[in-house]
Amino acid sequence: MVLTELKKGDRAQIKKINADPELKHRLHSFGIIPGEELEVKGCSLARQTMEIEVDGTLFALRKEEAEKIEVEPEKPLSGA
């Protein structure tokens, strides 16, 4: 499952990041690292951009980037 499939309020653990080394390194320096937990805080209209929280910090990222982050939801997803 990738990050874009989550909804506002969902929590998940980061499993893997399928990005080129540069972006991977960038995400890493933000603390967006496999093993860490994240929570989806919001999405913009048309789900173009998402807001997530990792280790107490909020980040905005675009759909294209969010798709590269593999996650495992913590509990059964709401609604689904």
């Binding site: 972006l23 320096s29 913009s44 209209l45 980040f59 675009r62």
Partner: protein
Amino acid sequence: MEKNLIRVALVGQPNVGKSSLINAIAKAKLHVGNFAGVTVEKSEVHTRYCDPDGCAEYEIEIVDLPGVYSLSDYSMEERVTKEFLLTEEYDLIVNVIDATHLQRNLLLTAELLELGRKMVVALNMIDEAREEGIVIDSAQLSQILGVPVVETSARTKEGIEELKAKIVEVYKKPQTESKIIYSDFIEEEIDRLVEFFKAKHYRSEIPYRHLAIRLLREDTSIYKKMHDDPIWIELLPLLRDALDHIYLHAGKKDLAEIFADEHFAFAKGAKMEVISPEHMRAKNWTQKIDNLLINKYLGIPIFLFLMWGLFQLTFTLGQVPMDWIDAGFGWLADQARTLLGDGELASVVADGIIGGVGAVVLFLPNIIILFLGIALLETTGYMSRVAFLLDGFFHKFGLHGKSFIPLVTGFGCTVPAYMAARTLKSRSDRLITLFILGFFSCSARIPVYVLFAGAFFGAEHAGNILFLIYIVGALLGLIAAKILRTYFFKGEDDPFVMEMPKYRLPSLKLIYHVVSGQAMDYLKKAGTFILAASVLIWFASTYPKQPELEAQYRQKIEQVQQEEKRQMLENELQTKKLERSYLGQIGKLTEPFFAPLGFDWRLSVALEAGLAAKEVIVSTMGVLYSLGDEVNGESSSLQKRLKENIDLPTAIAFIVFVMIYIPCLASMAVFLREAGSWRYLGYLFLMTTGAAWLLSFAAYNLTKLLI
């Protein structure tokens, strides 16, 4: 008494309060804002410290560097920091850490420790951490890192003196070894290499351990250095073995990633040890505000409403003191005329200096309100939210969401905005942003807008018109971006991942400093540059003298009896005199270019003078229209005079032209530096002038059709 200079590099992740800390340490006035990427250039600040024991005096030079998430070449301003750390001379590093985001900040700390330099850690935002209920054992942290840790707060000024003392203390002591410890499988390889160097009695400038680590990280500079050393032949197989072992254990071959994982383990471990696990995660109000401000549906309307409100305020609130200022300068001009008589001197003072400078100072209240708005946007944390909201929209026009930050800066002044564009990673994103920045009206154009909006649309609509001008300008900018993206700077999409800072209530002091600083700059400019320009304009519009013309008219005036007729002739004389002045000649020369837009020579000249700086437009008009106005005896407001001389289509065309054409000389110089080529500056000039002319032409004719 001896004197020592200590050069300190201030390094830390973005938005942790580095610049604020320097302001607190050295009473400096560096730019501070609540978003990542405020500082984009290094700057040096000096302070003194008197060591109590021994009383040697120290001069501390602190270098403020752009914030970096890690030591990488990600974007231009991050490169500045990395290059500084690796190539420049400095005595020690002060690593500023945000106590409320310890783990992420320690990732960078781990990297900095590997540089093997003297270091002090400033655990900043300690006030905020306490408020959030985070308790950090800083003595323990200091143990783990092997460097002193000082709790500081740039807001409450806690720990500032102690930080200075620690800087001096560490400076005096010899270097200690880095304490960062890796996983066993890496440590084993480090030990093996260190043993080898010991056995060979290898002469190294840096400690063996450090040398080994850099070799294992495949640091090119070390490889280059050791390559010609005889030891290299023996070292190479050892190194190859070591790396093979590491790859095997880590299960991957990407060294950068392997070490990044190490840093993460280190940071996480350190955090676990120093923060008591039972600390409650106090929900701050950021989440609640975000629920509203970046709401899917409400976010953008709220943003637009806030902007609209700002422009309403800019006009209506600004209007109040404006009337006083206007009256004040009018009175001054009248005083000057009565005091200095009717001669040249009176004219240069009353028409040139007071007319020109007064026309610019008049708009100080509007400018202050606009800057206040920008300062609030920058310091509360709302800026990053708007970048988030607009990214999807911007993306459609080929712009990066982060472009929003330089664009907002551009509402204040285009010059720093060009520099703020450095935070954009890709060259094409950056160039597009540089090219369209001029469409986002800088504060220097406010005088023109307020003047015209007030004169032609009345006070009740002026605020809306102002808002409309900015929106239309921004939309034009976006369209330009789309065109540039499609035809000129293709380049691929850059990732958009951005930290959103928590909301912070800016201190009144901070806002006051920012706004008063900018207001002072504006006044300074009015008192120097604008003053000089006004005198120049006055000179060019009163010389050469035309005694014949004057004599001719005087005779005519003598002859007529009717007061009305006299007045008319007097007016005609003034107009003729102006037209034949140097300025008039220039204006007449270029009038044909502007004629299709409905501009007479005066407006043409004002626009040309506006190439130097946009405030000069109103000061020129102030001089030109007050010279021609002398006949009435008293000074009426520039606004009134404009209304008598210009019709609505011309006024609209003029606003459109001012909206689009190039901001000022200073901005051209900075654009050249940032874009890096004369060719681009040429394109920018052609693009802005061409677009200004065409759209102005369209606006002129459309309005004529409609009314």
